[in-house]
């Protein structure tokens, strides 16, 4: 089993580093992570409101100008990335855990449990995701971004659950699983130790996809003005810029376009990574 996952890891690594677009994606993601999590230690967190410096253009003192309150845009850009990325990661962890546990057990056990899981995925998939998220977000007025991440995770697991279930259905017919069953190794051990590691790469790809979906949702909630406006967050910057019609003012553009570009580039980087990972893990695609 350890050999299996080690093999997957090296295949994945090669897939990313050998494909130019996958490598670009990885560099983009790494650069943004360093910018966000390294930059925190280099900028002055105290970013005062300055009524005399509203919407200042780019300059040596303010690399990206200032915003509608006279705050330094570059500082806000550095500090605003951590939250969406953490929330995205949290939501993805929740989604993947639920999907892996439910999907694997449903596919392996079949019967009543399987029916129940399928019914649950049907219902959850059908609920209009953004609408339900909006209702919940306005339900808790002072909802914390962490809660939002948790809720996003609780609403987005069905797709992955289905495909993991389908894969377990076919994996459990293989000989090595039959061998494990004959040894009476126990359901939990067979599912989580013998079956799931075979899907490690696939699960990892879906983790990344889940991160992009969660970032889409949390930035969207900020854009709709449904989350508390106290935090430093790229989504909030875009919302404030849009509300203040910053797009009409050329010198205010950095406050709108800089966070927009960061989110877009991060998403693009993640998606490029998944595409080349998919190719590396799927021989059918690789040979073509």
């Amino acid at each position: 089993m350890s050999k299996g996952t080690g093999g997957t890891l090296s295949v994945m690594w090669q897939g990313i580093t050998r494909s130019p677009s996958g490598f670009t994606g990885m560099c983009l993601v790494a650069a943004i992570l360093i910018f966000v999590f390294g930059g925190r230690f280099l900028v002055d967190h105290h970013n005062p409101t300055d009524a005399d410096a509203i919407w200042k253009p780019m300059s040596g003192a303010h690399w990206l100008g200032t915003n509608f309150e006279g705050k330094d845009t570059f500082t806000k850009l550095v500090l605003g990335g951590a939250e969406p990325i953490w929330v995205g990661a949290l939501a993805a962890v929740v989604t993947v855990i639920i999907a892996v546990v439910l999907g694997a057990l449903a596919g392996y056990l079949r019967g009543r449990f399987d029916d129940l899981v399928l019914q649950l995925t049907d219902i959850t998939m059908t609920m209009p995701f953004i609408t339900v998220l909006i209702i919940i977000a306005s339900y808790f007025r002072e909802i914390s971004p962490w809660m939002v991440g948790l809720i996003i995770g609780l609403l987005t697991w069905p797709f992955l659950t289905r495909s993991i279930r389908a894969q377990v259905l076919s994996l459990k017919e293989r000989e090595f699983i039959e061998a494990a069953q004959l040894q009476n190794l126990g359901t939990m051990r067979i599912v989580f130790v013998d079956i799931l590691p075979n899907m490690a790469g696939y699960i990892f790809i879906n983790f990344i996809i889940a991160v992009t979906n969660a970032i889409y949702a949390i930035v969207g909630l900020y854009l709709l003005g449904l989350l508390p406006s106290t935090a430093e967050n790229w989504g909030l910057m875009i919302q404030q810029a849009w509300q203040n019609s910053a797009y009409l003012l050329p010198r205010a553009l950095p406050f709108l376009l800089a966070p927009l570009a960061m989110i877009a580039l991060f998403q693009v980087g993640l998606v490029l990574m998944t595409r080349s990972l998919e190719q590396a893990l799927n021989p059918r695609l690789r040979d073509r």
């Binding site: 677009s21 219902i123 995701f129 953004i130 854009l223 797009y247 050329p250 998606v271 595409r275 695609l285």
Partner: protein, 369 residues
């Protein structure tokens, strides 16, 4: 893909002949009917459960329509207590009734097609409120998705035919990038780049559904104006979805191109155009049919954000407004309609697809029974 090996003939062109009509008393006919009906029952159950979830979730939200209405009324200089009484009077339902009674009233109404009346636009039936905005969302999303699918299918086939060429690599990269950027950011970027940076569009004129003073009706002025205002949302939906379709179609075409009957068709000396259209194209598009229905529903769900950015008053903005005003009935109506559309388009797509490709139907019966 494993079933492909089982029935290699099923994929041969022309796509398998349509099965016998369901009315015929054959065994297949009866199974087909049972299958369709089983899926239908399940669809109704799902809609019922989601509607219930919505019903209780909304009533659990802090603040209710009475608060919102009373707030509006007390701004006219009425004392809060009186405002509250007035608000309750103007409502078509009794907000203080026990919840089971409200539940029964709502669901018995729903069973006869009555979705109640709006709270914010006092007395207006929910169906009217929704019908006023729905065409706009359907128009913008529908046009955007249609353009995206057409473009995506053509470019995807091109990519598959020119696999590993420079065109393929460039288009694949563009497709991945377009598919990765959130649709609302595309809308913002379009507006900002188009208006302020390049100065080719005037967003202040283009925002909204149509210009003020233009009469809604079947006349050239209105249609032209609606199309003009539709440019930005349609372009946004197109750009946001075209990448995915390109990649999906590329994968599907690549799959088909490797099949034996394509090789045979080539050996028979058929023209490339004929092979591309009737042999490759048809068989590559077929498995994508159910995805179109799902895609449409997803895009309509994401329309909330795009409509908010572009101030395009469609279903999405109505949803947002109803949440803010605690307009239970409109929101319920949006949920019921939204869920039904998703569930029943899936149901129809399933059945249509089952008719087009009999393998699906047979395998489903095997799995579920």
């Amino acid at each position: 893909m494993s079933d492909q090996a089982l029935s290699p003939t099923a994929k041969a062109p022309p796509p398998s002949p349509p099965p016998r009509p369901p009315g015929s008393g054959s065994l297949i006919g009866r199974v087909w009917r049972a299958y369709a009906f089983r899926r239908f029952r399940r669809a109704v159950l799902v809609v019922f459960i989601v509607t219930n979830a919505g019903f209780f979730l909304m009533r659990a939200m802090p603040g209710d329509p009475v608060d919102v209405l009373a707030g509006q009324i007390s701004q006219r200089g009425v004392s809060p207590v009186e405002a509250r009484a007035l608000a309750i009077q103007s409502l078509a339902f009794d907000p203080d009734a026990p919840i089971w009674k409200q539940w029964w009233e709502y669901f018995s109404g729903l069973a006869t097609g009555d979705m109640g009346t709006s709270v914010t636009q006092v007395g207006v039936p929910v169906s009217d409120v929704i019908l006023k905005v729905l065409p706009w969302t359907l128009f913008s999303v529908g046009a955007g998705v249609t353009i995206a699918i057409t473009l995506g299918l053509l470019l995807g086939m091109l990519m598959a035919y020119r696999r590993n060429s420079r065109v393929d690599h460039a288009l694949s990269l563009i497709a991945s990038v377009m598919g990765a950027i959130p649709n609302y950011l595309i809308a913002i970027a379009l507006v900002t780049l188009g208006s302020t940076v390049f100065g080719v569009i005037d967003f202040l004129k283009m925002r909204g559904r149509y210009s003020q003073g233009v009469e809604i009706g079947f006349n050239l002025e209105f249609i032209g104006d609606a199309l003009y205002h539709g440019i930005l949302p349609i372009a946004t939906y197109t750009l946001a979805t075209v990448g995915t379709w390109m990649l999906v179609m590329k994968a599907a075409t690549t799959e088909v191109l490797g099949d034996d009957y394509v090789t045979v068709a080539r050996a028979r000396g058929l023209t490339d155009k004929r092979i591309a259209l009737t042999y490759v194209g048809r068989n590559a598009v077929l498995p994508l049919v159910p995805q179109v229905a799902i895609a449409l529903a997803t895009v309509i769900g994401g329309a909330i954000l795009v409509e908010q950015v572009l101030a395009y008053e469609g279903l999405g903005l109505l949803t947002l407004e109803s949440v803010n005003n605690r307009d239970y009935f409109v929101l319920q109506g949006v949920l019921v309609i939204g869920t039904s559309v998703v569930v029943f388009t899936n149901w129809i797509a399933d059945l249509v697809y089952g008719r087009l490709d009999p393998r699906v139907r047979v395998s489903d019966v095997e799995v579920t029974s």
